[in-house]
Symmetry: D2
Subunit: 135 residues, 4 copies
């Protein structure tokens, strides 16, 4: 997003995480929330909804968990390593789960293809921050 | 809330968790979200805001994490033990953290007293579900 | 919920709305958010998903709009009549819409029956507050 | 964001609004939510919190209302002109309010400067969609 890095810099309160890593994660999570929200909508309108029930439900979970994780990263809640670690792990699981399932539908549905990419990037961003918090 | 148990029963999809435990947790998390949101508002209006900065920030985190955890429990996302475990752990940490800090202000601020109680109950509910998921 | 009225009293900042009205609306909106979230989950798992697409989508909207409206009422955002009026109108429309549609499915699905009741009460609470704000 | 327009295209269900307008609004609202969340955090940490109470509270409202409005635009809830109009009006009021107040602090706090810009763009995007819905 336009100003994420500037925002993180302007607020930053000596986070142990680098601002560049934080800003990137915030952006990638925002894109992920958008992608899973749109993809859930798209799947709900498809004819093969029966095959997509689980994927829809997982996308709804993913949208909510990425939203709260992004707020935590923005608020500097990362100062509490136990909290941010647990929240990032939940976020990572939800993103990876949506990635794995939507990747199977990527050839048939364009929204699933985009969603699989966005959730994959979000899972990677979670892993990167988790590694930084734990190091 | 009025119909939480009926709702859980009407949707229930063979959750490994008992419906009574789920319904209680959903209600307690809803009360917790309400309490921390009100308490953050109350603290922001107090004269000793300087002493309350951290508590306000923690309450905002707690409001967001209880909201998403409640949705997970309602949606039956508990079918995925790894996801629900990680999300409950984040929720437990946030509730316990708000409980510990608001309990210190409970004598001076009525909203902190109510908040300390609500977050304490929410932390207990998280522990109870975590124990059930892991057993 | 257990302590909504006490919370409103403890925070209250001379709202033009009565605390009893506010507390009741907060509770009814929390119940509504829970009901539509559960009902959307229930409908997504039903065999007649094709008939329920629109109802699912409307319930997801309703869950999000009741959540934010409840936060506004709790935060005392009601001090800004223009903001709270617009937000309550959006909330009222979403609740009424879910009510109208789920009432049609109430005979076949228990979660739709409960949802129709909860959204109906929420719509009434929105109307009551809107009348109070405008008076 | 990376793929907003592609997502809107992949899901699109004959929205009366142009996809380009929708995609831009979604992005601008995501940036706004991020900016007000960061700015509220920043203001809460400033020494002149007393002068910033109202601005913090307004930013919290703005974060929640932009989040739900963005989901509505993504989900195609814009098919219901009454709902999307009311929600956009609430969003516009909240963005404009945060813009007006943070602009007054823009010289002293970098996060307020960025926030004033982001909320201003978001208010403009709401106006643009409102005009399109009403035309």
């Amino acid at each position: 997003m336009l100003q994420t890095r500037e925002l993180i810099d302007s607020v930053a309160t000596s986070s142990p995480l680098g601002h560049e890593v934080l800003a990137k994660a915030v952006d990638v999570l925002a894109e992920c929330e958008e992608a899973v929200t749109a993809c859930a909508t798209g799947m709900l309108a498809e004819k093969d909804t029966d095959d997509l029930r689980t994927a829809i439900s997982q996308d709804l979970d993913c949208a909510d968990v990425t939203a709260v994780t992004r707020r935590f990263l923005t608020r500097g809640s990362s100062h509490d390593p136990a909290l941010i670690t647990a929240q990032l792990e939940a976020c990572l699981i939800a993103c990876q789960r949506s990635h794995d399932l939507c990747a199977q539908h990527a050839q048939h549905h364009e929204h699933c293809r985009i969603c699989a990419e966005a959730t994959g990037r979000a899972a990677d961003a979670c892993r990167e921050i988790l590694a930084a918090v734990r190091s």
